[in-house]
Symmetry: C2
């Protein structure tokens, strides 16, 4: 059985993508042997896998140093993905504007499996040291954007996703079981927005709002983040009108883009 290895696929493609992830994990050029250590694949197999990736342009081999890093083809694909996601590129100018208004860190996130994927970020005028970064993933059950998105998931999907939450206690305020979280989610549904009350990192708080299509489909979430030393929840809550305006504008524009003249599609269940 698998160790703490996040591998998914039995196929060759799955293995190759595993290796790609592995290379991505190191945030720097990496030697073959470094990859081998902690790889579930035997030397020869790993070797061929890496060769294939290099041949495909997904990985670059630096002959001078004998190191591998992610390739240009990936950058190209990356951009296509970002453009296609239709939320991020449309939201960009709106987030710029909001960020300029409130002067705090703004996050745009989507839900990916059971985790939060930060798809864009603007730093506060006075930046805050924190974990998050565009392109990074984070936990859903203890972040503002995560909880807000969970709150607007369909019941069956919510069940599935909650099953996968780790409920690790990051801080004394982290919600550490499903019941607590479910109560929080119904509060969020009642209010239309949610908070992060230092649940993931001490001193870090935020307000988060879901981005919903006209049909109520969850598109993503947006949050404004700050620190307890600088502000408090009430002050963040006071920003809500501007945040809501931003979110509405984004939702409308996504709507117009995705369904240029199409009737609303029926939803699942």
């Amino acid at each position: 059985m698998a160790a703490e290895n996040g591998m998914a696929g039995g196929g060759t493609v799955g293995k190759a993508l595993d290796v790609l992830d592995h290379i991505a994990m190191f945030a720097r050029p990496v030697r073959f042997n470094e990859l081998l250590t902690g790889s579930p694949y035997p030397k020869a197999t790993l070797y061929r896998l890496v060769q294939v990736l290099v041949g495909e342009g997904m990985v670059t081999f630096n002959a001078d140093q004998g190191t591998y890093s992610l390739g240009m083809r990936l950058v190209r694909l990356a951009h296509a993905a970002w453009d296609q996601s239709s939320l991020a590129p449309i939201a960009r100018p709106h987030i710029d504007a909001l960020s300029a208004q409130v002067g705090e860190t703004v996050h745009l996130a989507q839900i990916d499996n059971a985790q939060v994927l930060y798809v864009d970020k603007r730093n506060a005028r006075v930046p805050v040291e924190m974990y998050s970064q565009a392109g990074k993933v984070g936990p859903a059950y203890c972040t503002g954007v995560g909880k807000v998105m969970l709150a607007y998931l369909g019941p069956s999907e919510l069940d599935r996703v909650l099953q996968q939450q780790a409920f690790h206690r990051f801080t004394p305020h982290t919600l550490t079981n499903e019941d607590q979280l479910r109560r929080e989610l119904s509060d969020i549904r009642a209010n239309g927005y949610g908070f992060d009350r230092e649940e993931h990192e001490p001193g870090i708080i935020c307000v988060a709002v879901p981005i919903l299509s006209a049909q109520g489909r969850l598109l993503g979430a947006l949050s404004v983040t700050s620190t307890t030393s600088r502000t408090n929840l009430a002050a963040l809550e006071a920003q809500l009108p501007q945040i809501q305006t931003t979110v509405s504008a984004i939702a409308e524009e996504v709507q117009a883009w995705r369904f240029p003249d199409q009737a609303p599609a029926s939803m699942e269940d």
Copy 2:
């Protein structure tokens, strides 16, 4: 290393990545049948390939509409690739500043095989309709950034790369053979910068400057682009001091980042 077929995608991984590219090419969610049309693979094969990609999170299947788009995992990898490339993330704020100063379109590019890869872009205050886009590739022999990068390639690599240029005549000003281009490149080396004199698109002109490390290694190129209806080469040339300042700042920072005099904390010693 026996004789190889020239086709990309000898193995399964290659085919899967082909499909990924294919999906990326459409700038929107795409139906299975659309992919099938113009795919070299038979229906069942393509189907399984796409399924694998979906299973791996590289492609998202939208059940409501029966469409495929690029997946979150790709976005994640993409960001890692962009971050790791070390030029783009460092250059970003500098490009923001330059763009604000000059008010014209700014491109940041790197060389990828024999082509130009635009890794970042800022639009002019008054945007111009044009081909280029971050994440897209373009020809090297008839763009400002392309020629400037060619000019600072090593002799053997330059030979190899020139071999691969198409020398297609896009406009009456396009340089259409190696000799013309080589003369242009030595001019560029003499000046330290180069122009695009409507060589790729009529009416589009630019100044481009190479980004070089302290050791003279080519890191990328930066250009400021405009139109003949708005300005001229002399006016663009007048922007050079600001561009050079920006480029120096980027080069220095990349230098500092790539050799932080700190060993990566790891298992062995």
